[in-house]
């Protein structure tokens, strides 16, 4: 495939070459229009994204721990303080647990649903709508409901899921949900998985549909079992979809904030993540520390996003 395409592209290219100058206006103004077209976005993004990132990093290096002006340059002190603070380490640990659960949960559920629909389940469009629908709800709105569902009262006053478990005589399933110190953060992942599994399903379903029927038929004619068909034909075709899903879900999960604020509130200890800590520090006027947490978050997201960008860039160039 890769050997035939470039030559096919090159050949008409040669005949086009003389035509190129005709597209250019006299005086070399050909670049003016496109530059003007992208200029506003370049300026806006330059100021409001990269400029502000720079300003944030600058703030994070200052000695500025109250609403007054900066007391001078502090270097990396703020970062050193952060990484020697047990609470910050705890919130990083929470973030890691949450991300892992959220990723595994959405990918496996999303894949399972897509696979079931792919197996020509009846009423496909209905299920597709049902699974996708939670995505239309904002995290804050669903958080309000899940706050009630994940209520940790047990016994008489139990409500939400704990009540359900009690009525079903599954009392052992009742638990303190997000107030548990060690695993509480996983309870926050439950609504997040509920909300985004449908989206991952849609991605995988599109992936499945993009695989031509001929490939499967060819594999079957060659005598591949159903498992071998998936293992050697379908899964490899789905891997770009899976990568996109991981990137999208992963970066959303690293930035989790609204869901936690809606369910547990900003000062709750067991559900702390860097984003909520950043908010608390900002609200109390500790701007340097808050900016430092923001920068750490940006770096963590970059670790996930940059390799993806590099790989897509390479792919595009190869094509």
């Amino acid at each position: 495939m890769s050997s035939t395409v470039p030559s096919a592209v090159k050949r008409p290219g040669r005949s086009q070459r003389p035509r190129r100058p005709r597209g250019r206006r006299p005086g070399g103004r050909g670049w003016v229009a496109p530059v003007l077209l992208i200029l506003p976005t370049v300026i806006v993004i330059g100021v409001f994204v990269y400029g502000l990132i720079g300003s944030n990093i600058h703030t994070s290096l200052q000695d500025r721990h109250n609403i007054g002006p900066s007391q001078g340059f502090a270097g990396l002190d703020n970062y050193r303080d952060l990484f020697t603070d047990d609470d910050f380490i705890y919130s990083l640990r929470n973030l890691l647990l949450y991300t892992a659960t959220f990723l595994v949960g959405t990918l496996s559920l999303g894949f399972l649903w897509a696979w079931l629909l792919e197996r020509k389940a009846r009423g496909e469009s209905l299920f597709r709508a049902i699974y996708l629908f939670p995505m239309a709800v904002s995290f804050v709105a669903s958080g309000v409901v899940w706050r009630w569902l994940l209520n940790n009262a047990e016994g008489d006053r139990a409500s939400g899921l704990n009540r359900l478990f009690e009525t079903l005589h599954l009392d052992f399933l009742q638990n303190p949900w997000w107030t548990n110190e060690r695993w509480g953060i996983l309870a926050i992942a439950v609504p997040a998985i509920w909300q985004l599994s449908g989206y991952v399903m849609a991605l995988f379903l599109a992936g499945f549909r993009g695989i031509p029927e001929e490939l499967r038929e060819a594999a079957r004619i060659d005598g591949a079992s159903e498992w071998q068909l998936y293992r050697h034909v379908i899964f490899p075709q789905l891997s770009p979809v899976a990568l996109s899903a991981i990137i999208i879900i992963g970066h959303m999960s690293l930035k989790v904030f609204d869901l936690i604020m809606a369910i547990a509130g900003q000062t709750n200890y067991t559900t702390q993540v860097p984003a909520t800590q950043m908010w608390v520090e900002f609200t109390r006027g500790d701007y340097a520390r808050s900016a430092a947490i923001g920068t750490v978050l940006l770096l963590i997201v970059a670790i996930l996003i940059v390799p993806y960008l590099v790989s897509t860039y390479r792919q595009e160039r190869r094509q």
Binding site: R25, R29, V32, A33, P34, L36, L37, L39, P40, T41, I43, V44, H65, N66, I67, G68, P69, D87, R147, L150, N151, N152, A153, E154, R157, P176, W178, T179, N180, E181, G184, A264, G265, Q266, T267, N268, Y269, T270, V280, F282, T283, R284, G285, D286
Partner: protein
């Protein structure tokens, strides 16, 4: 050619949009009859209080125009963030709401609000407010705000019917935490929640009451000026009692806010609740009668002490309308303003000259205590410490709520004091 022109037009349109949005921020209206009052009072009894104030203000100043700058949400934290960005950009409102006392420290240090000492002299306010309150409002010898009301934080709300059910005399008062804890355990044995509580700040509120009850007023005050040792054994003993009390509360506390916790007492699901006297409004709204449906007494061990907090208004430096600001502050300090606001909000007037004859029964008891009791500053509501210190304490208390480690709580409190202690 056509494409170029289209692109140009698009670029120009985008740029002009930017320019328009940039211009939107300088509201150089120039009219000096506007008085923007910035609060987070957007609903409930707080909104009713503000409306009542505005009515008095309009009567007293027909030529000034009140502008409501309220920012709702986040229990005031959203409003504080908006306020802070406005102050730093040099666009302060005419006046803004803040808790009186140490919460103002940051604004003062940043040079964002004016010293009102001269205004107090000039208007004769020093005679209108009680000495003890003025003392607590002072920071570095100056007074920076005018109080609109007084709330009491150390109130114990109880449901007599529930107490009877557990075999406890409903009229009983406790002179120490230990006696109270003994009864709470009896109530727990009956399968009733002994003490209802809600999310983190209400836990700080309970901790504050326990510290006050166990250490006494003088040592409690010492916590904030450095004369009481946070790492000492007295504090340790108080924290142990706090831990016991917390174990006698509802387990779903993190998911509740204060009205939910008060509701548990109203509904008879819990026996006691410790909350400030704004809870009175909740009982009143549901047509409950003081003495029969509920009782309100000082938290055990704090009889004779009034744990106070107050809302107050400030004068920002370089405000848009200094005369208008002073007019608003005068309305706040006036008897009409104090009475109108507090009748609606359920708190009591800060001034001693206001006529309180037709205030309700609970408010009368509060007014009496305010006149007689020893006054201390509330921690959970910004009177005792700076915002920073309170944030650190809240973090330690929230952590304790999930791991129940008394030693770690004390360590956290000691650290918070070291980081924030005024020198």
């Amino acid at each position: 050619m056509n494409a170029t022109r289209k692109a140009l037009a698009a670029g120009l349109a985008a740029l002009s949009l930017l320019a328009v949005s940039a211009c939107g921020s300088d509201s150089e209206s120039g009219s000096t009859d506007e008085v923007e009052v910035f609060t987070w009072w957007a609903e409930g009894s707080e909104k009713a209080g503000l409306d009542a104030l505005v009515k008095v203000f309009d009567d007293q100043n027909p030529d000034l125009k009140f502008v409501n700058g309220a920012v709702a949400g986040g229990a005031g934290s959203d409003a504080k963030n908006v306020l802070q960005s406005r102050l730093q950009n040099g666009e302060p409102p005419a006046t803004f709401q803040a808790h009186a006392g140490a919460e103002l420290t940051d604004y003062i240090n940043a040079g964002q609000i004016e010293d009102l000492t001269d205004l107090y002299e000039e208007k004769g306010w020093n005679e209108r407010f009680p000495e003890g309150l003025l003392e607590r409002l002072k920071q570095d010898g100056g007074i920076y705000s005018v109080p609109s009301n007084i709330h009491r934080a150390n109130v114990l709300w109880a449901n007599p019917a529930v107490l009877e059910k557990a075999g406890i005399d409903a009229g009983k008062t406790y002179d120490s935490l230990d006696a109270w804890i003994a009864d709470l355990k009896k109530i727990k044995a009956e399968g009733i929640i002994p003490l209802s509580i809600a999310t983190d700040w209400t836990q700080v509120h309970l901790l504050e009451s326990v510290l006050l009850a166990d250490l006494g007023a003088e040592a409690y005050n010492g916590l904030w000026d450095g004369t009481t040792d946070w790492s000492g054994s007295e504090v340790e003993a108080a924290l142990a009692k706090y831990s016991t009390l917390l174990s006698l509360t509802n387990t779903d506390r993190q998911g509740l806010d204060w009205p939910d916790a008060t509701q548990l007492v109203i509904d008879g699901q819990a026996a006691f609740n410790v909350m400030g006297d704004w809870a009175e409004a909740a009982f009143q709204e549901q047509k409950k009668t003081l003495g029969t449906d509920y009782t309100a007494t000082p938290v055990p061990g704090t009889d004779g002490v009034f744990d106070f907090l107050a809302d107050s208004f400030t004068k920002p430096v370089d405000g848009p309308n200094p005369a208008g600001t002073e007019a608003w502050l005068e309305t706040i300090a006036s008897d009409e303003g104090q009475v109108a606001f507090n009748k609606a909000k359920g708190s009591i007037p800060a001034s001693t000259t206001a006529d309180t004859a037709d205030f309700n029964e609970y408010q009368q008891t509060a007014i009496k205590s305010w006149g007689e009791d020893e006054i201390v500053s509330s921690l959970a509501h910004g009177a005792a410490t700076s915002v920073n210190w309170l944030t650190d304490i809240t973090a330690a208390v929230a952590k304790f709520g999930s791991n129940n480690d008394v030693a770690e709580l004390q360590e956290g409190l000691v650290e918070a004091a070291e980081d924030n202690k005024p020198e």
